[in-house]
Symmetry: C2
Subunit: 212 residues, 2 copies
């Protein structure tokens, strides 16, 4: 039996911190393509993805559950009704590999967490979901470690930069352009984005003349 993987998603006005480089419709399309990359990796990694959407939404053959409550409320309600395993993975980690998903869901610990940049939690696998409770926003990685400890659950930290790389801000696009092989990185290239070699880390530039 494959492990269900829930991917929370906000179809309307997503990724507002990318407004400086993407038009509203581009942000919506880009967010949906990142979601698509995550769905593919989750499926290839051996889990069975479905989407938890804040608005009514359809996404090909992937099941969608609509819940307009906040992220924590919607997820904790789902978790409380899941006495088996559950993988929770964010929709904005398009570099996620099938190998990383496999590593998460094959942990021998009670839970496995793949941290996100800046203290977040980009993926968490719960071997028995209803024993846990999530608390996203802010330093959620540390909050989740604490919740696991309070409940006596063992926890493995998954060391993956591909899952660690959430795409929120302009400079995150550089990682996607460098390492991405999926649909979201292809879309960025189509929109004219390219990496720019600056002095230290590589940045991104957009050539709007090449916008299709």
């Amino acid at each position: 039996m494959s492990v269900p993987a829930v991917i929370p998603f906000k179809p309307k006005n997503p990724k507002t911190r990318l407004s400086c480089v993407l038009e509203p419709e581009e942000r919506e399309k880009f967010a949906a393509l990142m979601l698509c990359d995550v769905v593919v990796a989750a499926r290839e990694g051996g889990s069975d993805p479905f989407i938890l959407a804040t608005e009514p939404f359809s996404f090909g053959e992937t099941p969608v559950v609509h819940d307009d409550r906040g992220l924590n409320e919607a997820l904790n309600d789902l978790i409380s009704r899941t006495p088996g395993p559950l993988l929770i993975i964010m929709a904005d980690v398009p570099l996620t590999s099938p190998e990383a998903v496999r590593e998460l869901i094959s942990t021998t610990a009670d839970i496995a967490i793949a941290p996100g940049r800046g203290g977040g939690t980009n993926a968490v696998y719960l071997s028995r979901a209803d024993r846990f409770q999530v608390s996203y926003y802010g330093p959620s990685f540390q909050k989740h470690l604490m919740i696991a400890q309070e409940r006596g659950l063992s926890c493995e930290v998954i060391d993956s930069f591909l899952v660690h790389t959430d795409v929120d801000e302009k400079e995150d696009l550089a990682e996607l352009l460098i390492h991405g092989k999926g649909m979201s990185s292809r879309y960025l290239r189509e929109l004219g984005f390219a990496i720019s070699a600056e002095k230290g880390r590589v940045g991104v530039v957009r050539d709007r003349s090449s916008t299709t």
Copy 2:
């Protein structure tokens, strides 16, 4: 026989992009403690670390080679004289785990690269060093992939956020405070650094009253 691991290091005026939060002597001490964390991980991961320093420098029992040329020149000279395996790992990746080092040096490919944030190369393992040539600075990850391809060398990309996290700028300190268990993160805490929960990602604050 264990694999030699070279760690390039600049003892004087290191990490200038941290000048906004660290005094010059603090930067020197912090850089040396990050180096120490890398040396420990390299050794525990099964390699035999030595330091390639831009200035005469001593570092306990760890061997130091002094070469005041630029990073690429010094490394390529060393590489050309190394017909066996060599791991090159940066001194500013203090989260590096022994597991990641083990994964690098046990690749079945000709080379294994652990990319750094923003297009860099934070660790590269060469199964036979003298067949390769390094080209650091700018988008070195992509340059190294290209060099491998030109020379017909197979390449594995190592997916580790612990090695991916190089510490150059203030916000990078947050990762170290969240995930660090070594000497460099302890030193930051002693200096009064703590994570601050902002709206999106976690940041860092420094309480200078607690400076020892």
